[in-house]
């Protein structure tokens, strides 16, 4: 029991952040995190804790999406390749929301595995843990991450350029 406490204290925040970034919904993220730790309760022992937790969390997301049509559509909407952000220049108070929209658009431009690998890396998982969670070879993680990062940045900058172009048009 105290072991799960420790597990919770150590990994809950990072798991929630990973899920929040992945799902774009804090409630859903916290539900999945909660369910993951409940699963941990039932485990006799866990090898690599972080990899195990993230694997279980990913599976739960997939199950949620299967069972719940709304969530499936939500994920599908998130995964749409096309995103457009229309921004007006004087919107300073919505700046953070704009950045979030562009980040969302950028990350959704990635392939699913690239996206998950990058989000997990951001939570500090090492290559072995990511490979275990995603059922990939350790040797392929570096290439996956390099591709994911490049695509993310390119997609983000493309969205930013789109914004600037529209601002220029609007000014005319």
């Amino acid at each position: 029991m105290s072991d799960v406490d420790r597990l919770f204290r150590t990994y809950h925040a990072t798991l929630v952040r990973y899920l929040t970034r992945r799902l774009g919904d804090r409630d859903w993220a916290e539900d999945v995190a909660q369910a993951t730790f409940v699963r941990a309760l039932r485990q006799e022992s866990i090898g690599n804790e972080r990899a195990w937790l993230f694997t279980v969390a990913n599976n739960l997301v997939r199950d949620d999406a299967r069972k719940d049509a709304r969530r499936r559509r939500h994920l599908a909407l998130l995964q749409e390749a096309e995103r457009e952000t229309v921004v007006e220049p004087e919107l300073t108070e919505l700046e953070r929301a704009q950045e979030r929209a562009m980040a969302r658009g950028a990350i959704d431009a990635l392939a699913e595995r690239d996206r998950l690998a990058l989000l997990m890396r951001e939570e500090g998982l090492d290559y072995t843990e990511i490979a275990a969670a995603l059922d990939m070879s350790v040797g392929s993680i570096g290439t996956t991450l390099s591709r994911a990062r490049r695509r993310l940045v390119e997609a983000y900058e493309a969205l930013q350029d789109g914004v600037r172009r529209r601002e220029g048009n609007a000014a005319r």
Binding site: D25, R26, D27, M102, Y127, T144, R149
Partner: protein, 355 residues
Amino acid sequence: MRHVDEGTIHGWLDSALSADEAAGVEAHVAECAACAATVAEARGLVAASSRILSALDNVPGAVIPAATPASATSGPASSRPPRGFASRYGRLAALLAIVATGTAVAVRMRTSERGGVPSMAMGSAKPESAPAARDSAPASGGAAPIPSAAPTPAPRARVAAKTALPALTRDAQDVAAAAAGAAGAAAAAAVVPASRALDSRVAQAPLPAKVLGMRPTNIDSVRPGTTAGTTRLSEVVTTGTGSADAPSVDLPVRTLTDATLLSTELGATDSRRTRRSAYEVRPGVTVTLVEAAPLPVTDQARVRRQEAARADAARVDPRAPAMHTIVWPDAAGHTFTLTGPLPESELQGLRQRVR
């Protein structure tokens, strides 16, 4: 010499290589300009990715709509949801236009009151909002500042509307339909350009504009700016938009029955989350209900004293009509304050109607 492939470079930067491998990469990069450049670029990509991803944090809950906006039959790639959003939820978007306009104008008004110090006035004590209201309540009942401010905030409204559509719940849609009609002259100028603007594409990202717990009983009778002390724009404040940490609201939603809800505002006072709602109990008479989340026990006595002091101060304020305040806790430790230009006995009577 064989160059280092990009995957290995990222592995090196992520400390995923063995000691030997790492040493090999380091040695090569020291001698190879091309690979050194690749490493520099990779470092930039690593840093930029982290920065971009951190923008995804602080998303509030309840993002998944209760009723999915996209048409049920279309798959993710086939439809053009933005147009569906715009036409189907035009009035909803109009509400958001009102929201953004109201918020923007509120900022504008308070900025002018406070001599250029912009403040969203969240959690402001009554004295701050009262002067703002009074000063903005000329004969036309508060409508005067609005048209002048409306044209500028209207463009802001467009983005709020666009970016927020996917995130709204069914409750919000019902309220929006009702409230859109009720916004009246105050927001008419903003609504028209906003709904026209919505014909263009809408951001798909599930942005966190969430219209909060309004349960209007008779919202069609809202007239902005009826008497002094009641002039308040319909500041329906969205949480989470651009806020640092979008806290989920854990305040119980209480409403005053048989009264018209004029506005509701979330804020914080003395580190407690508050919800401040203005109700019109009869024509020309407005009371304010403030709900505050519980404080740790040690702070309760202090805050109760402060609230009582504020109530006293309001009572003796010669500029205000004779205002009275009653304060009471509920079982969970939330504190309620009801303030209005009514004798305490009448306020106590109203308290019975707080559900």
